[in-house]
C-alpha cells in the first residue's frame, strides 16, 4: 500500500520535504511507521516527542494505517 505522509515543523526539515511517499505492507501500524522513520532519519530520536495523526486526530501507536488515510507527522507543538 502506498501512503503519503505530511510533515510539519521540524519534521519537515528532517525529512526534507512537506510530503513523504512510502510503500507499506498491510497491517502496518503507527508504531511500525515511527520505527521505520527513526531508522531512516535518526534525527527524529532527538525530538522531545513525535506523534502521528490519522485523519486529523492524534493516533495511538497500535492504530493501523489504512488506504486513503490522511497521515501526518506531529513533532512537539509550539503554537500560541
Amino acid at each position: 500500500m502506498k501512503c503519503k505522509i505530511k510533515a510539519f515543523g521540524i519534521s519537515r526539515d528532517i525529512v526534507g520535504s512537506r510530503e513523504l511517499e512510502m510503500e507499506v505492507p498491510d497491517g502496518f501500524t503507527v508504531s511500525d511507521l515511527k520505527k521505520e522513520l527513526f531508522q531512516k532519519y535518526p534525527t527524529f530520536i532527538e525530538l522531545k516527542s513525535l506523534y502521528v495523526a490519522l485523519n486529523n486526530e492524534y493516533a495511538n501507536d497500535d492504530s493501523i494505517l489504512k488506504s486513503g488515510d490522511e497521515i501526518a507527522l506531529i513533532p512537539p507543538v509550539s503554537g500560541g
Binding site: 505530511k6 510539519f8 515543523g9 521540524i10 526539515d13 532527538e46 525530538l47 522531545k48 495523526a53 486529523n56 486526530e57 492524534y58 501526518a72 506531529i74 513533532p75 512537539p76 507543538v77 509550539s78 503554537g79 500560541g80
Partner: protein, 143 residues
C-alpha cells in the same frame, strides 16, 4: 469563530464575534511576539500550522470549555507565516454571564491550545534558528 490566517489579526473583530446581550464579562487573551528568548534577540518568528487538524483540535477544546463554563460566545484566531516582535500571534476571546467564568475558560482554551493544536513556531536569531520546544535541551540548531 475559529480561524488560522496569514493576515494580521483584527482583535476588535474577534471581540465583536463574542458579544452577547446576556454577557457581563468578556475575557481576551492576546499572544504577542517577544523580542527576546533565552537571552537572545529574536529577529522574527515563522509560524506554520497543520490547518485542518488545528481547527479540529481547537474545536474540541472549545467544546470542552463550553461544557465546563457557561460560555455565551467564543472566538479563536491564530496567525501563521512570518511575525516580527510586537505582532499578534493569537487571540482568544470568550464571553460569559460572570467574570470568573470568562477568565477561567479563556485561560483553559489558550493553555490547551498550546498543548494540543498542531501549530509550530521557529525563532530566528542573529546566529541561528530553532523550532521552539522541539528538542529537550532547547539549543539552537542549524546555525
Amino acid at each position: 469563530m475559529i480561524k488560522i490566517t496569514e493576515k494580521p489579526i483584527d482583535i476588535q473583530k474577534v471581540i465583536d464575534t463574542v458579544s452577547s446581550l446576556g454577557a457581563g464579562a468578556v475575557n481576551v487573551f492576546i499572544g504577542t511576539v517577544r523580542n527576546n528568548a533565552h537571552g537572545k534577540n529574536v529577529l522574527w518568528l515563522e509560524y506554520e500550522a497543520y490547518e485542518s487538524m488545528a481547527v479540529s483540535e481547537i474545536r474540541k477544546i472549545i467544546d470542552e470549555a463550553s461544557h465546563r463554563w457557561p460560555l455565551l460566545g467564543w472566538g479563536v484566531s491564530h496567525r501563521v507565516g512570518t511575525l516580527k516582535p510586537g505582532e499578534v500571534s493569537v487571540v482568544v476571546a470568550v464571553s460569559s454571564p460572570h467574570r470568573q467564568q470568562a477568565f477561567e475558560a479563556c485561560e483553559f482554551i489558550i493553555d490547551t491550545l498550546k498543548e494540543k493544536a498542531p501549530i509550530f513556531k521557529k525563532e530566528i536569531f542573529e546566529d541561528g534558528e530553532e523550532w521552539v520546544s522541539a528538542r529537550p535541551n532547547g539549543v539552537t540548531a542549524y546555525n
